[in-house]
Amino acid sequence: MFKSEIIELNMGPQHPSTHGVLRLKLKLDGETIVGLEPEIGYLHRGVEKLAESFTYLQALNLTDRLDYVASISNNLGYIETLEKLGGIEVPRKAKYFRTLMTELGRLSSHLLWLATHALDIGAMTVFLYAFREREFILDMFEMVTGGRLLTTAFRYGGLKDDIPKELEQKIRDFIKIFPGRLADYEALLTKNRIWMKRTKQVGVISAEDAINLGLSGPVLRGSGVRFDVRKAEPYEAYGELDWEMAVEDGCDTYARYLVRLEEMRQSLRIVEQALDGMPEGEFRTKAPKVLKLPKGEVYHCIEAPKGELGYYLISDGKGTGPYRLKVRGPSFVNLQGLKPMAVGHMVADVVAIIGTLDVVLGEVDR
């Protein structure tokens, strides 16, 4: 009887809740989404091409700028890739400290996610609470690396410098206050009726679809798939510490929210254990200033806060830099989940779904 008109809405690249320069072409029937096409590349800097003209150490700086809210994880993945191809041994102390730092990085990334996700759904206060704690962590990064956001934290064969003395007390303080703060967030959100209404049954994706779409990280675990690189292929000290994988089988935005909150708790456990069990000894092995790697190729992946972060490194055995460096950014792949998750929902849900995917455009566009 009535023919409804489909309107096209252009969301982004400048939009308050596309988390960077993501652009979505939405097709709307009223407020219901009937079509969605992500347009990316607004932040493409050619990191992979640049890496080919850098030395191995210089290329470390590029990895900071991928997922710029969790640059520690990016550093770790890249450094481990070099070590895997070069067969470089790492002292246990460095391993523990790297684990500790990476988990702090995960916490800061998840805090940023929580802040923006909650703000997208309209819970303004959580945003500021989460940023307060994130500042705390960034202060620690500054103590260790001198940088707050772009850390360039580790070196092949261990760490750049020994662990600063004051850091331990700072981390202990953090471990003391953080569970209470987490309880604050939960009090504001977890059982909040509006929050549940906005996130439950929104952005549903089944486990099968999630695997087929190559989703990873909390997005995949929110669909009930028990896959965490830290458990599957333990690197650094993860295999020696006692922690649990966070899995929920709700398949929706709420489940992913719970997964990330649980991951924050587990990260805190890991941090505490790594700090308590920090071995004595060297913080790095002797490694050449200018690294030369044997001819070969290696794919190494770690569990970044957003999911499986993989580096595919090819060395021709002659140069002092990568012949080819391919980055498998979890955000880039997870972004593919947006369309199947969002179609059929409303405009307001797109915002929630972008938040739940936790994409960082620096990593999507590279």
Partner: protein, 227 residues
């Protein structure tokens, strides 16, 4: 983890995980060694502890599963080797390529991590101009595998989007940055670079500057006139 608790997990995966549990139960030999120095963590405050299933260390070298997958593939696999602890299978590019990939998918490798492209033109000892690496993973069995295909310049390859939906973005990226054309699929267009960009920057014949800075209105106009 029971079937009732995780109804959304694919049956196949559950079965595999169950088998894994049974295998692991007697000795727990495969789980990673615990360090003496670690302090025992406090027990998780609430809820029963979930069993950790996929915990064995990654040791893919010369195992049964590699033989199994090679047996399945038969002479379709041109070559295979293990290097840096990673298992690689080399396939030929051909009309049955998606079929072979589907076969690998059926044999447990349900997760496509990544598709990478390499320009081997300045690399010693490679058969062809380009290499495509498909990094596959088996969520249930915790195995990784790399499938490599070599291509000449200008050679096209069939898309595997029907096997793994995730291949969409990866193939578009490879096309965009390396210029390898995937046939048999919809919507192969640039993804990271602007639609009117000329050339494919990750190719080795372009220097860094040419690859990254070639995009000016003037150059685009000139190239259009040339074309």
């Amino acid at each position: 983890m029971t079937e009732e608790k995780k109804p959304t997990t694919p049956d196949k995966q559950i079965d595999a995980l169950k088998a894994e549990m049974k295998k692991d139960e007697p000795g727990k030999t495969v789980s990673a060694p615990r360090a003496e120095g670690t302090v025992s963590a406090k027990p998780k405050p609430a809820g029963p502890p979930k069993p950790i299933i996929v915990e064995q260390a990654h040791d893919p070298v010369s195992e049964d599963w590699q033989k199994k997958i090679l047996d399945v593939l038969g002479d379709k696999a041109k070559d295979s080797y293990v290097a840096s602890g990673e298992f690689t299978i080399i396939l030929e590019n051909g009309s049955d390529f998606p079929g072979i990939m589907a076969l690998i998918h059926e044999n447990g490798f349900d997760y496509l991590s990544d598709i990478s492209s390499v320009d081997y033109s300045k690399y010693e000892g490679t058969p062809k101009h380009f290499g495509l690496s498909y990094h596959l993973y088996s969520v249930a069995d915790n195995h990784r595998i790399r499938v490599k295909v070599f291509l000449e310049d200008g050679e096209t390859i069939l898309s595997i989007m029907d096997v793994w939906a995730t291949a969409d973005f990866h193939e578009r990226e490879v096309f965009d940055l390396m210029g390898i054309v995937f046939t048999g699929r919809e919507g192969l267009r640039r993804i990271l670079l602007p639609e009117d960009w000329i050339g494919h920057p990750l190719r080795k014949e372009l220097s860094k500057n040419e690859g990254n800075a070639a995009y000016t209105a003037k150059l685009v106009k000139k190239a259009r006139e040339d074309a």
